[in-house]
């Protein structure tokens, strides 16, 4: 698939409402593979960072206790229509993905 | 091809009693299998005594093999009636594995359990052949 991120950024009365969804297994490292009996290694997003026009607006630090295919939403003030909101995640294996959208 | 003699042996009675006690689920039953619903390779007669309950006549290996063939036959009949239970085949596989290890006692017990499941599933299918109709939701006004 092209992206592992879904991002919506909407202005409501001066407040920008950000919602995001990541495609990620968020493996805890304590599950065993039913087929092989081996422990499935920890594999989870560690950080999710949002910027607006390059300015950091949120840093979310995740443990393995965040659900599979994580959802995260927050709000910020001072955004204008047309601003570029970017979400970027990195996981414990160093894999990463990012997505930009315009604030509407 | 498994041919099983039709007889009113004590094995049937014991077994029937066993599953009446254990299942407690099926209230009405007839000890006649709806064998006409399928054309399996095996075709046991209406009643098939469980010879695994009459120990001592055969070697354990022969007893296991006969019992296994019968149980597998009954399982196929249950499957043919669309009524096979979840673990019957698993029990048979496990019994084979135990037999392969020479654990005849365990193997035969597992076969008996599988056979019980298959027989009960067949009873269930037989009963359900008509019973389901009484559960169909009907309009409230029951006109005569």
């Amino acid at each position: 698939m092209t992206t592992t991120i879904k991002l919506s950024a909407k202005l409501k009365g001066g407040v920008a409402d950000i919602k995001s969804l990541m495609l990620h297994p968020m493996e805890t490292g304590s599950r065993t593979d039913p087929d092989t009996g081996n422990i499935i290694p920890t594999h989870h997003i560690t950080q999710l960072v949002f910027t607006n026009n390059g300015k950091e607006i949120m840093v979310a630090n995740f443990s393995t206790a965040v659900s599979k295919n994580p959802f995260f939403g927050f709000s910020f003030e001072g955004g204008k229509a047309g601003d570029t909101v970017k979400a970027r995640w990195v996981d414990n294996n160093g894999e990463t993905d990012e997505l930009e959208t315009q604030l509407v | 091809m498994v041919r099983v003699p039709a007889s009113e042996g004590t094995g049937v009675k014991t077994n029937t009693f066993g599953f009446l006690c254990l299942s407690g689920l099926i209230i009405v039953f007839q000890p006649v299998f709806a064998a006409n619903t399928m054309e399996a390779e095996c075709s046991p007669a209406q009643e098939m005594p469980d010879r695994s309950l009459e120990r001592g006549h055969e070697s354990e290996k022969d007893l296991f093999e006969h019992s296994y063939a019968e149980a597998e036959c009954l399982r196929k009949m249950a499957a043919g009636a669309g009524a096979e239970w979840l673990k019957t085949e698993v029990l048979l596989k496990r019994s084979s594995a135990e037999a392969g290890e020479g654990s005849w006692d365990i193997a035969i017990k597992l076969v008996q359990k599988a056979r019980f499941e298959a027989e009960t599933a067949l009873q269930q299918a037989d009963f359900e052949a008509t019973a389901w109709k009484h559960r169909v939701i009907q309009a409230k006004e029951t006109k005569k």
């Binding site: 607006i57 840093v59 630090n61 959802f71 910020f76 | -």
Partner: protein
């Protein structure tokens, strides 16, 4: 060891890029110690220097009373407290209680929503650090063993 090697192989480029970018693009390193703590108290101490929090009714912690599914428990937190610096979600009975922690720069509202995993019935705590102190709100979420589901 294996993990480290994989990380270097796969993430080598990413790490290189990270190292060269200003802090505004990628924040500080993921605080591993906080997330590997096995008690809530230890986790809070390593995050905030203390596990003493002041219960506050100005924190609105929204969690279900009975979780439909322990694998996906919706949590949302907002507060009328001012100068909020961070918000954390702590699940006391999870093997590693610190579920997530959010850094709130000025301009960002103290209002977050996410979904978390819970192994068993537990108190869930919202811990909020402001320039004035550390505040919390706690609510119990019951996690049950399902029947057939959905």
């Amino acid at each position: 060891m294996n993990n480290t090697r994989r990380m270097i192989l796969k993430g080598g480029l990413a790490l290189l890029v990270l190292a060269s970018l200003p802090r505004t693009i990628m924040a500080a390193v993921w605080p591993k110690k906080i997330f590997s703590s096995t008690t809530a108290s230890e986790a809070l101490k390593s995050l905030l220097g203390t596990d003493a929090t002041t219960p506050s009714d100005r924190i609105n912690l929204k969690v279900p009373e009975i979780a439909e599914n322990g694998a996906v428990v919706p949590v949302s937190i907002d507060t009328s407290l001012e100068n909020v610096e961070s918000i954390s979600i702590v699940v006391k009975n999870n093997p590693r209680p610190m579920a997530a922690t959010f850094e709130i720069p000025p301009g960002t509202l103290p209002k977050i929503a996410s979904r978390i995993k819970m192994g068993e019935t537990s108190d869930v705590m919202a811990v909020i650090k402001t320039s004035n102190g550390i505040y919390s709100a706690t609510s119990e979420v019951k996690v049950t063993i399902g029947g057939c589901g959905g």
